[in-house]
């Protein structure tokens, strides 16, 4: 019996390599390779805010974003909001696969925004989440004495007063090929606060995610909660719901949101409307990607 066992052992361990064994060897060899999660989100923007995604090296994204008027702004007066729109045009470029720089211009408050995004950690079989750091500076170029959405008249005495800074740590996990969720702890600094009651520094936490319905269609949601808004404030937390349609080189994002502005200062800190009374804006973002990779030269006919 013992002998039989030994012979059996020898046969098993002796070097007979069937094709499955070859595959097994390959499997163990490839286990050393790191497996990164890709395409956690379709775009660099979830709805209003950023995602962990950065632009790939030597690629340029062009963003066109629109928010129509509020649904409750009346039929005769405003055709349920379709009579007017706020627009933001933006460009962003991938210096490396990790580092993106971007700039945009919003019609709301005639704001310019400049930002950098850096993907610090990538979700893989070793690390459970992707971490991207985001920093932006927004400058209002509206005439001094103009009113904000809230009605407050802002007097600016120098250009520094027109600036707002945003810092975000964006943490996301792709749970499976359908579901990705992210958290966005956010710090905002206003060089000039709106009123004496309004803090210059605002702390907020965002949460969002996407659920893929099909290969090209996904649902998305985004919520930002403020932690130190004074009780006298007329501002509300921002909630946006939308769906993304992806075609060849474009991502179309259609959404409903109670925020009108498309930069952090405006949607995180200065959302004036509420979902509960129909203060909902509908809008869309369109993203178009261009490759400036040398190898892509001549690829587009």
């Amino acid at each position: 019996m013992k002998k039989l066992f030994i012979i059996l052992l020898c046969t098993i361990s002796s070097p007979i390599f069937s094709q499955d064994d070859l595959m097994k060897i390959l499997d163990t060899e490839s286990k050393n390779q790191v497996d990164y999660a890709t395409a956690t989100f379709k775009g660099t923007r979830l709805i209003n805010g950023q995602t962990i995604e950065t632009v790939n090296k030597n690629h340029l994204n062009f963003w066109i974003s629109h928010r129509f008027g509020a649904i409750n702004s009346g039929f005769i007066e405003n055709f349920f909001g379709l009579d007017e729109a706020r627009i933001r045009l933006g460009l962003e470029y991938g210096i490396t696969d990790q580092l993106t720089i971007g700039a945009g211009r919003s019609s709301q408050e005639k704001m310019y925004d400049f930002y950098a995004k850096y993907k610090l950690l990538r979700q893989s079989n070793l690390i459970p989440v992707t971490l991207t750091l985001y920093g932006s500076n927004a400058i209002s170029t509206v005439a001094t004495g103009s009113a904000l959405e809230s009605g407050t008249v802002m007097k600016y005495y120098d250009n520094l007063e027109r600036m707002t800074y945003t810092g975000q740590a964006i943490i996301a996990r792709k749970f499976n090929d359908k579901l990705s969720l992210q958290l966005m702890p956010t710090f905002l600094h206003f060089n000039k606060a709106e009123t004496t009651d309004t803090p210059n520094n605002i702390l907020a936490l965002g949460a969002g995610g996407r659920l893929k319905l099909s290969k090209r269609l996904s649902l998305s949601a985004e919520y930002y909660a403020n932690f130190n808004r004074p009780s006298s404030s007329n501002y509300h937390n921002s909630l946006a719901l939308g769906f993304d349609i992806e075609t060849g080189g474009h991502v179309f994002q259609f959404h409903l949101t109670n925020s009108r502005g498309m930069i952090e200062r405006q949607f995180i800190a200065q959302t004036t409307k509420q979902w509960s009374d129909g203060g909902i804006f509908y809008g869309f973002n369109i993203s178009r990607s261009f490759s400036f990779d040398k190898r892509a030269k001549g690829m587009n006919k």
Binding site: I25, L26, E29, D35
Partner: protein, 183 residues
């Protein structure tokens, strides 16, 4: 008797770690090219794992689909997300056997045909893939060109796509094998 058994065990154990007839690579190159009226699509994977047994003439190839690098990263994302579905089907595999009656331990260049199974997008197809094999002492180079029909592997091209995707993709491979060392 006891010593004899020990001897057998030792022989068994040591013999299992010699791989004289095995040649492998972890940096094989597989690329593909697809020409369409609108744009050309190309991708290259430089981390293909392949292993060749020179005595049985069996070969196995395994590649991570996410490791294909495209000049246009959006195409790369579409390749993984929409066509190959890399989350569901992460690897492309080939296992087969060289059918020609040749001695792979002797130096020379041989036209070879590998008969086996190609697995892509979770669909396995019986294939005969032709290639060229060059044996140069401890270095074996294998090149091959073959076509993959998208419909064979149930790779859907949705109607919503603006640019047309070719229905047959030309695939090129070059693997340089060296003697396999167990890590």
């Amino acid at each position: 008797m006891k010593n004899f058994i020990k001897l057998i065990i030792i022989t068994c154990l040591t013999s299992s770690t010699t791989f004289g007839q095995l040649f492998s690579t972890q940096s094989g190159e597989t690329s593909f090219f697809s020409e369409t009226p609108v744009e050309n699509i190309s991708g290259v994977n430089k981390t293909v794992g392949a292993i060749l047994n020179t005595s049985t003439k069996e070969i196995a190839v395994s590649m991570k689909m996410t490791a294909f690098d495209f000049p246009n990263k959006l195409m790369q994302e579409h390749f993984n997300e929409n066509y190959i579905e890399s989350d569901k089907f992460p690897t492309g595999l080939f296992k087969g056997k060289i059918v020609e009656d040749i001695d792979l331990t002797k130096n020379g260049t041989y036209d070879v045909t590998a008969k086996g199974q190609l697995t892509l997008h979770g669909i396995t197809q019986a294939r005969e893939i032709k290639g060229k094999l060059t044996v140069d002492n401890q270095k074996i180079t294998l090149t091959s060109n073959f076509d993959v029909k998208l419909v064979d592997h149930k790779i859907d091209v949705p109607k919503l796509v603006f640019s047309k995707i070719a229905e047959v993709i030309a695939v090129k491979s070059k693997y340089i094998f060296s003697p396999y060392v167990k890590k």
